[in-house]
């Protein structure tokens, strides 16, 4: 009995002291050994950011959550509280589930391909000496191209009248009908999305490779005869942190940043075309005027992306401390 009481109060103490840290000025791990001790000045510096965060982040986020529990009148005259109905509807709809399935498939394949190709190119670019800067510059430059521009250029390549890829497919006896055939469109969006993301992965893998000390490379050169073994046993493990970081970034990219590519390729005609969950949120909200349903989908996405980001931060924190 006494035992329980003690552990209980100890835990309570820990919670209390953590709570105290939330509002008190003393932090266990201050950012600096010496800090300015003024009550008002920091607020002055924080005010602009805080105001913007409050108005443009918290207000809409809270609204997304609230309206996910309501069904709004399409003409904007009031809303009815429906509890979790919007969520139930979304999760029960076959359309939602097929979109979710495609999104998962899309994320997996885009991430795998762009990471794989990015890594391959980085390893090769790290190896060659002659022409290395030229390769680097050329491979990096595509990074800056906006997804919608990538989508536009990609569209031209898959165009039904003059797209070279259409001719290529025809040569193999396939009638490529992007924008009309579900899987043809899927191939197009995956190709464009991968194309756009390779430079990003390339940059990070290359800088990861550069940070492998020369002495380690030389030791590996002495210890392992075959290049493949050296890569597998030495280089790859050293790149693992970079790869993990990129994994999360690439999933987030496939989920959100590919929106413009879909918008350009699918052109508001989702009828028989593959789309991602974010695109569906947009369609249901802005084109379908189903604000409650769209919000419920938003909230589900929020949970997914928040989990991903927390994973990333936890990992990075560990890396900062021990790496």
């Amino acid at each position: 009995m006494a035992e329980t009481y003690h552990t209980g109060s100890a835990r309570q103490g820990a919670i209390l002291s953590r709570l105290r840290a939330w509002y008190s000025a003393e932090t266990a791990d201050p950012a600096k050994r010496v800090q300015f001790d003024r009550p008002l000045t920091p607020w002055l510096f924080l005010l602009p950011q805080l105001a913007i965060v409050a108005i443009f982040f918290y207000w809409p986020s809270v609204q997304a959550v609230t309206s996910s529990f309501y069904i709004e009148d399409p003409f904007g005259f009031g809303a009815t509280f429906v509890g979790g109905e919007n969520y139930a509807d979304a999760l029960a709809s076959s359309q939602y589930l097929s979109t979710a399935t495609f999104t998962a498939f899309f994320c997996a394949i885009v991430t795998a391909l762009s990471l794989g190709i990015g890594l391959l190119l980085a390893v090769k670019a790290d190896k060659v000496i002659r022409g290395a800067p030229a390769y680097k510059t050329l491979l990096i430059s595509v990074y800056a191209i906006a997804p919608p521009v990538a989508g536009l250029i990609g569209m031209m390549f898959f165009d039904m009248h003059m797209g070279p890829l259409k001719d290529l497919a025809a040569f193999f006896g396939h009638d490529l009908r992007v924008g009309i055939d579900y899987w043809d469109t899927a191939v197009a969006v995956v190709t464009i999305s991968v194309w756009k993301q390779i430079p990003y992965n390339f940059i990070f893998f290359l800088s990861g490779l550069h940070s492998v000390p020369t002495s380690v490379r030389e030791a590996a050169l002495i210890d392992a005869q075959s290049g493949w073994r050296r890569f597998r046993d030495v280089t790859l493990p050293l790149l693992a942190p970079t790869a993990f970081f990129l994994l999360v970034i690439n999933i987030t990219y496939s989920l959100f940043d590919t929106f413009p590519i879909f918008d350009v390729v699918v052109k508001d005609k989702p009828a028989n075309n593959p789309i991602t969950l974010v695109y569906k949120v947009y369609l249901d909200g802005f084109k379908g005027n189903d604000i409650g349903g769209s919000s419920a989908q938003s909230v589900i996405l929020m949970i997914v992306v928040a989990a991903l980001t927390i994973m990333q931060f936890r990992f990075l924190e560990r890396r900062v401390h021990y790496g």
Partner: protein
């Protein structure tokens, strides 16, 4: 380190470069041909003679539904968007990061979490309510509405916080002995010290702002506020139902939309890579 040159490595790299660059080159080249030529012959790898005409038309021809938006207007708007966003981001996040790193004050921890929670959720997941908030505030079709809501994410604050933490403690101590208060220290010491960091973040944020698509799509119905990205959407919408779309003009628009960010990345490559790989973590 001694290593043999392996033709195979170069082969892979060349294939990679071709895969990435060829579409860009073909877009550039095709933009200098007439739409009928493109329609019948497909994309071009060589320059044509129609380029001057195409670009003149794209840049100066008044088009759109209202008939008064030109490529130049869109170029301007994209510039405003890119530069406005980058500058706003740097100013806001430096100030906030300064407060969080260099001050001891009440509620610091809770404010820290309030700001950094914004990193969890991208704009895309709260796009509907954000739009509603903007329309409530009457900020649709304004530059403020285009730029300011995008500043709500704390990425920049995160970068600068990391950077400030890496500044040696002794610098603040020396400055305090030298009689510098919080404002003086910020302006005299910290800002000049952050120049490289600011430049790197400017590049990344400029590209980010320039490349925005979804937000301008929602925020602007008035065509005088259209950015190049928004222009791409409308040029594609016009295609529906037209016999021979203006492929050349679409390509020209794409080229215009590509040049500034690509140029920035290529010219400031070193600084850009350093900023990206060292601050994204």
């Amino acid at each position: 380190m001694m290593q043999k040159i392996k033709p195979f490595d170069h082969l892979i790299l060349i294939a990679g470069v071709l895969f990435l660059i060829a579409p860009v080159v073909m877009a550039l080249m095709s933009s200098t041909h007439t739409p009928t030529d493109i329609h019948s012959n497909g994309l071009y790898l060589t320059p044509g003679s129609y380029g001057g005409e195409t670009y003149r038309k794209v840049l100066t021809h008044k088009g759109g539904f209202t008939g008064d938006v030109t490529g130049l207007t869109m170029l301007m708007n994209s510039m405003i968007m890119g530069i406005g966003f980058a500058v706003g981001k740097i100013v806001l996040s430096m100030m906030a990061a300064y407060a969080l790193v260099y001050f001891r004050f009440r509620f610091a921890t809770i404010l820290f979490w309030m700001i950094f929670t914004t990193l969890l959720l991208p704009l895309e997941v709260r796009i509907m309510p954000s739009y509603q908030v903007m329309s409530t505030l009457g900020l649709l079709n304004t530059y403020t509405g285009l730029i300011v809501p995008l500043l709500a994410s704390a990425t920049g604050t995160f970068f600068f916080r990391q950077f400030f933490r890496s500044v040696p403690d002794e610098l603040l101590e020396a400055a305090r002995i030298d009689g510098a208060g919080p404002f003086k220290f910020f302006i005299d010491i910290l800002v000049p010290l952050s120049r490289t960091m600011m430049a790197a973040i400017f590049i990344i944020m400029f590209i980010y702002g320039w490349n925005q698509y979804l937000w301008p799509l929602l925020m602007t119905t008035d065509e005088t506020f259209y950015t190049l990205m928004r222009g791409i959407k409308s040029i594609l919408q016009v295609w529906i139902g037209s016999q021979i779309p203006d492929y050349n003009e679409a390509f020209a628009l794409a080229v215009l939309a590509m040049i500034p960010p690509v140029a920035v990345v290529v010219i400031f490559q070193r600084m850009f890579i350093k900023g990206l790989t060292e601050s994204d973590k």
